[in-house]
């Protein structure tokens, strides 16, 4: 074995690679074929080896050979094998190598192949691929075609991302590409370096001079923007750069007409400014504000088009927010402008302006700004923006510890006003602000408590509406403030009643809990007030109120509420008892809630020293043993998991114990309705469900599946049924096959010419269709015909289709009436010629409904076309023994009853009395439908009058257009898009000039005559779809402008498409 491997690798050394192959082929120009055949032998040897790399090499060569036109299908298996190898790299490598080689060998043409490979690669680079392909792509970076270079450079970025090690070796070349003569390559390189620099600007400082040069020389705005953006990232790192940039940037600002470039220049100046100090801010911030001013003085500047000013406004605001961080003052002077932007109809701009406001407030203007914002809150539609406003108001006011708020009464009333907002999500934010202010600002408490009492009183306004759910959080704060600072309440009794309203029970649990607790606090305060009075009844009434109302909360589903309520209820009951004994309790009750809750700083805990001798890390009790804790814990809560644990942990338990436990577990499982058992028998137990254990389970083992209740069983039944059906089907098929064979045999004997073809398959189809309940009426009708020959007359006939084919085609396409008329005339003429009879009685009309050539829905085969023919007797004589015959072509054949020869006519299954018409259908079998067909045929019949009967013959032509092979099939636009995405369709197009009809007429015409359906229509453009009987998809895109109609078409069968388009063209050439 080892020897074999060694031998294999030695062999490999002498293997040709693709390069050698190509060189070899060149050197053997005279006997190329011979050389290649030896090569193929070698490749075959290589493919037999185990080494996947060898195989890959072989496949590489094969791809090249295939491209040269050699058949390599014998190696299909090996190719698939290599393709499916875990190393995805090989696939791409094969593709790429092939491309690279092709590219170098053949030159120009294939640059797009490489381009496509690279584009494809950009979508799925993986670390592995990146590693393996980095070198190849690097080579491509110096390809002769700029097109390839450009793509290779760009893709390097993706490679760097996935395989960062490749950056170092590739960097010099990347740098080189910055000075590439082709602007596209240059721009790609700039792109890549800018992206790289975004991640780690420091490493790219060294490139600054190069970029500097590019900036002054390049005229490509895109490149300039990228470079300027790059400098924006670099200047903070290298202060000197900022100064150097001033000049070129100023030049650009003055010279460029591109707003995008101008904007980026300004933006970069701002970024560079951070480190540099302030020297050149003023002119640039001025330039920046020009953006905003632009909008205001469009008339004066006349630079901006109407629609772009909004964009500049947005960007101006964006840039300003950058300045704001360093120079809030310079922004503050533009307050009016920014406030104006708050009125803007554009949400993006309003949001930007809001951001700016944050940094602009001062003690002086806070109230004014917030007032403005409040106005906006009222006006704003859409909750997102309103919520944004709300948070911004709170942010602005609360920033740096309420630094700018001079009057907290004002702030509280703002907060209370905000609670009136509909449908905000930020109730908790308002609530926390209220609590924060009330706790931290002592002086405000009286005012706050009064406001909160009003809120509580009007709580129904907040709870009533579902939309306002978010805001009821505020009640949490209100209740707490009223309870905690109840001594400031003006009318505590009223507030207490408000808190104990039955409606409170609809609030969320955590709010109710606060209500209950604070009701108790209020109660304590009330007692204290009332006990001072001489009249004791007031105090007792208060207790009674509590006792009456609290049970509502005791019943609450929320544990917290329940607990607190029952606790307090008992307390109040006890107090009432004492009150009845005239004991003064107020002092004791109030002691329950004595002491002030002070705000605590987040880091306050650190200031508390750890008591001596306290070791927080030491165990207080002995740590519980592992097994104990693990065994107990799951047992208590998740009984089901217990067995798993015991099995895993107690491996030493003896067999008996195990068996015992297993038994116990089984028992338990059997009683547990939620346990899904594994074995089939237990499954059945499960199906029988808990309540019915006493029913004998054995019954279910019967193999009669029908009786078994429960889903899995019925599934089994379905399966059985399916199996049974399948068996039947197989048998049927066998039978059919046999039948078919027999028929084939039988026919073979009779048909000496032995025309193969679909004809003999038809019976099979019939059966197929019958089983599938498809309408195959026609082939069934064929035999029926003979039974229907009841009453029939005949007369010499005339046939419209007997005219020249040229006139016949259009006839089919024109409307029925038209055709009838025409035939009428022709019929007259011919009749007189034939019979020498002056009357028109001898005419037989025969209509061939081209438009109604009815096609079988047999899409697997799609070989059948049904032609409906109407025979009308126009004379006074009886017509009989009509025989319809068509000269078969290779492609299309009239289906004849079994046993008849290929040239036999078909007898029409009826006779025609004078003036009667009847329809007969004839089935044709088509092999290929991509071409239109013309078939010559004759109709023979006998005209019978009182004394004699004459034989007549009528020639006609049947024209099968390609459109008649199409079936109108509706198609949804999604499916249509999918179909076109698949990319298997060939494209072709026609232009129709001078079409003078409304677009919808045009579409209707195509739909009617060519069996298309409109998928989508947008203005004067429509996509259409149809499908051939053999399943070809035909897609059209019809566009019109003026009198020109352009039709783009796609189909998987180009010939068919070409013919359909020709037919469409013809349809419109006649109008």
């Amino acid at each position: 074995m080892a020897l074999k491997i060694v031998k294999g690798s030695i062999d490999r050394m002498f293997d040709k690679n693709l390069q050698d192959l190509v060189r070899g082929i060149r050197n053997h120009k005279e006997d190329e074929a011979k050389y290649i055949s030896t090569c193929i032998d070698e490749i075959k040897q290589e493919l037999k080896q185990d080494n996947i790399a060898v195989k890959a090499n072989a496949v590489c060569k094969l791809t090249y050979l295939q491209m040269l036109g050699y058949d390599v299908s014998w190696a299909a298996f090996n190719i698939v094998e290599v393709m499916s190898s875990s190393k995805f790299t090989y696939k791409v490598k094969i593709g790429l190598y092939a491309h690279v080689w092709i590219c170098q060998e053949i030159g120009y043409i294939s640059q797009y192949d490489t381009g496509v490979a690279l584009t494809g690669l950009s979508c799925f680079v993986t670390p592995d691929l990146a590693r393996d392909l980095a070198n190849d792509i690097m080579t491509l970076m110096s390809h002769t075609k700029p097109y390839i270079r450009k793509k290779a450079v760009l893709i390097m970025y993706k490679v760097f991302l996935k395989y960062p090690e490749s950056l170092r070796p590739a960097f010099p070349r990347l740098k080189e590409k910055l000075e590439d003569p082709d602007p596209g390559v240059q721009s790609a390189a700039v792109n890549v370096i800018c992206e790289l620099a975004r991640r780690n600007p420091k490493n790219y400082l060294s490139l600054a001079p190069l970029f500097f040069k590019l900036m002054t020389s390049s005229t490509n705005n895109w490149v300039l923007i990228k470079i300027i953006k790059l400098f924006g990232a670099l200047t903070p790192l290298e202060p000197r750069l900022g100064k150097k940039l001033i000049e070129p940037l100023t030049n650009l600002i003055h010279s460029t007409s591109a707003m995008s470039l101008l904007y980026e220049c300004v933006n970069t100046v701002i970024a560079g400014h951070d480190v540099n100090g302030s020297p050149f801010l003023p002119p640039f911030s001025l330039a920046l504000f020009l953006f905003l001013r632009f909008q205001l003085c469009v008339q004066k500047l006349r630079i901006l088009i109407e629609d772009s000013d909004q964009n500049l406004k947005y960007l101006g605001l964006l840039a300003m927010s950058k300045i704001l961080k360093t120079h809030p003052k310079s922004v503050q002077s533009h307050k009016d402008l920014i406030l104006q932007c708050l009125d803007d109809k554009d949400e993006s701009i309003r949001l930007r302006a809001l951001d700016l406001l944050y940094g602009m407030v001062s003690k002086k203007n806070l109230m004014e700004i917030v007032k403005k914002l409040m106005l906006h809150v009222d006006k704003a539609e859409g909750t997102t923006y309103r919520d944004e406003l709300l948070t911004k108001i709170i942010d602005i006011c609360s920033q740096s510890n309420y630094q700018y708020i001079t009057n907290f009464e004002w702030y509280i009333s703002i907060l209370v006003e905000l609670t009136r907002l509909e449908g905000t999500r930020h109730g908790h934010l308002i609530a926390s602000q209220m609590l924060d202010v009330a706790i931290r600002v002592k002086a405000i408490r009286v005012f706050a408590v009064a406001q909160m009492a009003t809120l509580l009183d009007n709580a129904h306004l907040m709870t009533g509406n579902v939309q306002r759910k978010g805001i009821c959080e505020v009640l949490y704060a209100a209740a707490w403030i009223c309870g905690e600072f109840s001594e400031h309440l003006e009318n505590p009794m009223q507030t207490l009643e408000a808190m104990l309203r039955p409606k409170v029970a609809t609030l969320p649990g955590h709010i109710q809990a606060v209500y209950v607790q604070n009701a108790a606090k209020l109660f304590a305060t009330l007692l204290k007030n009332q006990e001072g009075n001489t009249d004791r009844t007031a105090a007792q009434e208060t207790s009674q109120l509590m006792i009456d109302r609290l049970p509502l909360f005791v019943q609450s589903a929320n544990l917290e509420v329940q607990e607190r309520a029952s606790c307090i209820l008992q307390l109040v009951k006890y107090i009432q008892k004492l009150q009845q004994k005239d004991v003064e309790v107020a002092e004791e009750v109030i002691a329950l809630f004595a002491g002030e809750l002070n705000p605590v700083a987040p880091k306050a805990q650190k200031k508390v020293p750890v008591p001596e001798g306290l070791d927080l890390d030491a165990w207080i009790n002995e740590p519980p043993s592992e097994s104990e804790s693990e065994d107990e814990q799951p047992k208590a809560i998740f009984a089901k998991e217990e067995p798993k644990h015991s099995r895993a942990r107690h491996t030493e338990v003896d067999e008996k114990e195990l068996a015992k436990r297993r038994e116990a577990r089984k028992q338990e499982q059997a009683n547990n309705p939620f346990y899904i058992k594994a074995s089939p028998s237990s499954q059945k137990v499960y199906q029988e469900a808990p309540g019915v254990e006493h029913i004998p389970v054995v019954q279910i083992d019967l193999s009669v599946p029908l009786k078994v209740p429960g889903l899995p069983m019925s599934d089994q039944y379905v399966k059985l049924e399916e199996e049974r059906r399948q068996k039947e089907r197989v048998e049927k098929k066998k039978k059919e096959k046999k039948k078919r064979k027999e028929k084939r045999g039988g026919r073979g004997k009779k048909h000496d010419s032995g025309p193969e073809s679909e004809e003999d398959i038809t019976p099979a189809h019939m059966v197929d269709i019958v089983t599938e309940e498809m309408p195959l009426a026609d082939s069934e009708k064929l035999p029926v015909r003979s039974h229907r020959a009841a009453e029939a007359l005949k007369s010499p006939a005339e046939d419209g289709d007997a005219e020249s084919p040229a006139s016949q085609e259009p006839k089919k396409k024109s409307s029925k009436e038209k055709r009838e008329k025409k035939k009428d005339k022709d019929g007259d003429r011919k009749v007189s010629v034939k019979n020498g009879n002056p009357t028109r009685e001898t005419a037989l009309w025969m209509y061939i409904y081209g438009a109604e050539i009815d096609i079988q829905g047999n899409l697997q085969d799609g070989s059948q076309v049904v032609v409906s023919v109407i025979f009308e007797n126009k004379c006074d004589n009886f017509l009989k023994t009509m025989e319809f015959n068509v000269l078969d072509s290779l492609n299309s054949k009239l289906q004849r009853p079994e046993g008849s020869g290929p040239h036999d006519g078909l007898s029409v299954p009826f006779q025609l009395p004078p003036g009667v018409s009847n329809e007969a259908r004839f089935v044709f079998t088509m092999q290929s439908i991509v071409m239109p067909q013309k078939l010559k045929g004759t109709l023979t019949f006998i005209i019978k009058n009182e004394d004699s009967s004459t034989h007549e013959k009528l020639d006609f032509k049947l024209h099968f257009t390609c459109s008649s092979y199409l079936i109108t099939t509706p198609c949804y636009s999604d499916a249509f898009a999918k179909l076109l995405e698949s990319g298997d369709l060939k494209c072709s197009s026609v232009r129709l000039e001078g079409v003078n009809m409304p677009f919808h007429h045009l579409l209707a015409r195509i739909c009617f005559h060519h069996h298309f359906s409109v998928v989508e229509r947008i203005d004067s453009c429509a996509s259409m779809y149809s499908r051939s009987i053999q399943g070809h998809h035909v897609c059209l895109l019809v566009k019109t402008s003026g009198q020109t109609v352009s039709i783009d078409a796609k189909c998987d069968e180009p010939t068919l498409l070409g013919n359909v388009l020709d037919e469409i063209k013809q349809t419109f050439s006649q109008c």
Partner: protein
């Protein structure tokens, strides 16, 4: 970097979507829906920038869009791209489409989906802008089409 390019019509029916980062099919659909929702409720004559697509990117990303007749062209980009530059790029894209399919219409994007992707691939590759020069793009696309045709004909 460009994260995604979406084109949908006034009714939110996607006509073309190209994601330069991997998302599951469902997420892609959701992104398109959400983007349409954001973009469609904006008036004409407002700015072409939008923040707040939650699904795609974060605060660093913004949507830059243009509205032409029945179609919205939306680019989702990060902060390394110039906003106005991308607007210009959308214009170039649309003009290129118009040149390649005379009298371009929404349905062209469906019918010639392959060609549209080709054009896009000439402009943007793997999320990075490859070419902004319309003439160059058209030259490349044309010669590729020619090549394709010559391959088909024999």
């Amino acid at each position: 970097m460009i994260k995604a390019i979406l084109i949908f019509n006034n009714h939110g029916k996607p006509r073309l979507s190209k994601f330069y980062e991997h998302y599951s099919e469902d997420t892609e659909q959701q992104i398109i829906r959400e983007t349409f929702h954001l973009v469609s409720k904006r008036d004409e004559n407002v700015c072409n920038f939008l923040e707040g697509g939650m699904l795609i990117g974060g605060s660093d990303y913004r949507l830059i869009y243009r509205h032409y007749a029945t179609l919205y062209f939306v680019f989702c980009v990060d902060s390394s791209e110039s906003e106005l530059g991308i607007l210009d790029l959308i214009q170039v894209f649309v003009e290129t489409l118009d040149k390649c399919f005379e009298n371009v219409c929404e349905l062209d994007l469906i019918f010639h989906v392959d060609k549209v992707h080709n054009i896009l691939a000439e402009m943007v590759m793997g999320g990075m802008v490859l070419e902004t020069n319309m003439n160059e793009i058209i030259t490349q696309v044309d010669s590729q089409n020619k090549m394709e045709k010559s391959e088909q004909s024999p």
